[in-house]
Amino acid sequence: MPELLILVPFTGALLCFLFPGHIRDVIGLLCAVLTFVASIILTGNIYQNGPIRLNLGGWKEPLGIGMCVDGLSVLFIFLTGIVGLLVSLYSVSFFSKANNQSLAKHFWPLWLFLWGSLNSIFFVSDIFNAYVVMELISISAAALAALSGTNASLIAALRYFLLAMAGSMAFLLGVGFLYAQTGTLDMYLLGAVTDGGPLMAMALGLMTVGLIMKTALFPFHFWLPPAHGEAPAPVSAVLSALVIKGSFYLLLRIWCTVFQDTTASPQTATLLGLLGLTGVIWGSYQAIIQNRLKLIIAYSSVGQVGYLFLLFPLVFITLDPAWKIEAWTACVFQTISHGLAKAALFLAAGNLIHATGTENLKSMRNIADRLPMTTFTLALAGVSLMGLPPSGGFVAKWMLLQSILASGQWWLAAAPILGGLLTAAYIFRILSQAFVSDDQISCCGHVSFVMEKSALLLAIFSILIGFRSKEVIFLLSEQVYFVIQGGIIP
């Protein structure tokens, strides 16, 4: 089953590359549906039967490459499946517009390649394999970011790509250090190595820095807003909801399996948490002062990514295992609900821009009258981002706050509280413009049914995920290959 999640998108990408015209849309959509179905089935499978491990080519682990599928991977796969399907639906409509038609030719193969490689990074269990997959993701993501072809988007794409490549190089050198210490590349065998030593510490540093560059944590966030803000709407949705999650997933995996017992030190974890906290406040503040809709949403990503890094001080310093698991679940939950909500926001923003022909917040007045569905989508996704009950964002932030208080690291509580307030500020800023009535502006273009509904569905999912927290917690605490307290399940 997990193989299909890689095979189907890659096959689709090749077919989309070979065939012209409308066949491409049909193939792309078909592959999207198939991949979505496969990811749902896989999630159910893992939920019931527990984690599985595949040895590719039938070779045992230190020699061959493994693939491991556990609760953590399937949650990301599930997120990718939903966002991928709805974004694909949206893009069929989006790229069929006259001025976008030539872009579809490039969009489909790259997007399906990106989807396939995202799926394979969620199965990764070999650190060198992770490097190759990350390069696959960076190149396709940078190419997609340059899709619109404007000066700003080209420069943003190149800046992102250079940073991502530098991150990959640091990661690769980290792989070298790990190999020098242990002589193996498999993550779980690496985790079984008990002696830490300076080589492991250096590897941890290099890999962590390389990955947080790609995840856009605070001091390295500068590439994100232009790259995500300048791309076409479906691309922005994918980049924000999924691509940065790919490198975050790898970071989680590496910290929890490879370094947990040996090298992960409280100081490093605190530093990451501090950067996350700064990111939450800085990103949200920047989002408030922006004037362009997509830039607001892009800066909001910087802020929301900050939350994810609170996980490190909470999990690696807290003593009580129950609260550790709570914090761990909260952060993964936040990843998922942010992914869904952010994709919904970007798609809705794409609708607005399409309808009004402008990106400026001020000239988008009165949209609530004309595009009620899109406004509703914005509001719903905003609710999840702010963390109002009963959304997924609420569950995540509530658990986060609880575990922060339980862990005694009070200063971290600033993130969910201040961050929530600031998020509310920029969401209401968007919405308040939406309800201002202005008779002078009379527009506007027609937004197709599919485009409105796919954005809305994403927003609804981001709320609904809040009702399914039990299953998510079960997947994250029972059905994973590693346990949070330390050690590996044999």
Binding site: A146, L162, M165, A166, M169
Partner: protein
């Protein structure tokens, strides 16, 4: 042992020089060249490990990794250079500074 040390030190130096070039040069082509130096450093480290292994033959796994890495790096370099040329074509300079778009028609 000492061959390992010489090459491992060299690889570290190359990596750091590449990093320095990447952050210090404003010109895009130079940045890309610096990235390639970084990559060369990382590859050299892996191969010096392969040479160091105890078995009589060279460890083939790092060799295979570096071969893969070389192809990946050249693809990434070609893609980055293509973006650079496009930027050069549109803005007239090879820098990452933001340049406002011409009004689109």
């Amino acid at each position: 042992m000492t061959t390992l040390l010489i090459y491992a030190f060299t690889s570290i130096i190359l990596f750091s020089i590449g990093l320095f070039g990447l952050v210090s040069h404003p010109n895009l082509i130079r940045k890309i060249v610096s990235l390639n130096i970084m990559g060369g450093g990382a590859f050299l480290f892996l191969i010096s490990l392969a040479y160091h292994g105890r078995s009589p033959d060279i460890d083939p796994v790092p060799q295979a990794m570096v071969l893969t890495g070389i192809v990946v790096t050249i693809s990434a370099t070609a893609f980055a250079l293509c973006l650079t040329r496009r930027i050069r074509e549109k803005t007239g300079q090879c820098l990452l500074e933001h340049c406002p778009d011409k009004p689109e028609t």
